[in-house]
């Protein structure tokens, strides 16, 4: 057995590209891939300040689902889920995409009503969804404490059987390999430090490795989008927060589905390797520090132990934080900006991983066609002025 070849080249930047994508995470790589695959645009560079997929792509909890309440959200996330279902074969790489089912627990009558409403809304939008009562939850996931005396009584749950998890690194590597094969330059260690602007239009980027001319510039920088946009004189309705997650030591198989509880800010699955992967809610304050407060982890663990008494003797191996860009309505912002030829894909907040292929698909379409993809159209910047918000805060956005 020999060491595998490198999956992509490590090129120096060329003087000019048709499209420069800023950010080499999942969304940037997927956008590059679909620009080539769907639109034949291959004179493209992906500029990454650090290394490929070393930001939130390496820090998320890999949950994939599409059971959002509002029509616009269901459409774009379901588009993404359908892409996930064919992605391993298409990219010729085992993404370990496992449709093991996602439970969203209800702990109060309010949760029950919201859950049932969402199940009905999902079905009307062609998204698979089921309502389970407490006994059915126990049968589906026997290790959840559904007793009536539990601190957070389980009164039922929504179930999306097609939801699940995937191996985040494999997703990034597979997309990077294919993008590279199309001739796209993936340039690491290349920080964008400014933009060349001329008459309200962007014509290039200044980088730590010199200036690069660009026909179009597409931001895909998650938590750092505000910082980049400010360099182009654009203010975006985004706030950057730490979002923490953790893994336990490796365990034998103990949990074969994804369990989420919006009310107590816990979501947990067991990775293929065996560690429990858990996520918390965001830390309250703005931050770019990629770390959060221990008390947030403590509150999340306390809730997790109430739901899963079995985890009482499990040891936490590692905690970390990513910087997520949260929009006012907890929905993404995709489309043109006030600067001509400058595009933005941001505001995915705590839930961007699941959207990786879908976001890349509609963003590439938007960049190539110079008008928003129909699925992206409702997610334009103008919605904050028109008031046509897609308010997923109460519906699905507390925990992603």
């Amino acid at each position: 057995m020999t060491h595998p070849d490198f999956l992509w080249r490590n090129p120096d930047p060329k003087p000019a590209y048709d499209v420069v994508i800023v950010g080499g995470g999942g969304h940037g790589l997927a956008t590059a891939y679909y620009l080539a695959r769907n639109h034949g645009i291959t004179n493209v560079a992906v500029l990454e300040r650090g290394w490929l997929a070393g930001g939130n792509m390496a820090r998320n909890t890999t949950i994939i689902r599409s059971n959002y309440l509002w029509d616009e959200s269901a459409a774009i996330y379901e588009h993404s889920l359908k892409l996930w279902e064919g992605l391993s074969a298409e990219l010729d790489y085992d993404l370990q995409f496992s449709q093991r089912g996602v439970l969203n627990l209800a702990h109060s009558l309010g949760d029950v009503r919201e859950g049932r409403r969402r199940v009905n809304a999902n079905r009307l939008n062609g998204v698979d969804a089921e309502w389970l009562d407490a006994d059915e939850v126990r049968k589906f996931c026997p290790i959840i404490n559904v007793s009536g005396s539990a601190r957070y009584p389980v009164m039922g749950a929504t179930l999306q059987r097609r939801g699940g998890i995937a191996k985040h690194d494999h997703v990034a590597w597979a997309l990077a390999r294919k993008a590279d094969a199309y001739g796209i330059d993936l340039i690491q260690g290349c920080e964008v430090t400014g933009f060349e602007l001329s008459g309200g239009r962007v014509t290039g980027v200044r980088t730590s490795r010199g200036p690069i001319a660009a026909g179009k510039v597409a931001l895909a920088a998650a938590g750092h989008t505000s910082v980049l946009a400010a360099l182009a004189g654009v203010r975006l309705p985004l706030q950057s927060h730490p979002l923490q997650a953790l893994v336990s030591e490796l365990l034998e198989p103990v949990l074969d589905c994804v369990v989420m509880s919006n009310a107590v800010h816990v979501y947990v699955s067991q990775a293929h390797k065996g560690e429990l992967v858990m996520g918390a809610g965001i830390d309250a304050y703005n931050s770019y520090g990629q770390r959060g407060g221990v008390h947030v982890i403590e509150a999340q663990m306390a809730a997790a132990l109430e739901l899963f008494p079995l985890f009482g003797r499990v040891r936490v191996l590692r905690t970390w934080a990513g910087i997520v860009d949260v929009s006012p309505d907890a929905s993404p912002i995709i489309g043109p900006t006030p600067v001509e030829n400058l595009y933005v894909n941001a505001g995915w907040g705590t839930g961007g991983f699941k959207a990786t292929p879908g976001a890349g698909w509609v963003y590439a379409h938007t960049i190539a066609g110079e008008r928003p993809h129909p699925l992206a159209e409702p997610f334009g910047l103008d919605r904050f002025t028109t008031g046509a918000l897609i308010d997923e805060h109460g519906a699905a956005a507390v925990a992603h």
Partner: protein
């Protein structure tokens, strides 16, 4: 856990407080355009560096006050 200096109670743990976001956002006076109103409601600074922000001592004296905090180092200092 941040240690935040309440002007009334002194240094206290972060989880006694409620976060209030950017400080110094005045309510717009008079008629506003849709763009101005949207900016007032939705647009906030999001700097990587020093940030003037509001905190509410929810589990203490229940005073709102401003501090400056660095959004990378999390260092907190008195608002100037």
């Amino acid at each position: 856990m941040l240690l935040i200096d309440c002007p009334h109670c002194g240094p206290r743990d972060e989880n006694e407080y409620h976060y209030g976001g950017q400080a110094g956002i005045p309510y717009p006076l008079g008629e506003t355009t849709d763009e101005e109103w949207a900016a007032f409601v939705f647009l906030r600074d999001n700097p990587k560096g020093w940030f003037r922000e509001r905190w509410f001592h929810a589990h203490g004296c229940r005073t709102w006050f401003d501090v400056e905090r660095h959004t990378v180092t999390h260092e907190v200092r008195k608002a100037r």
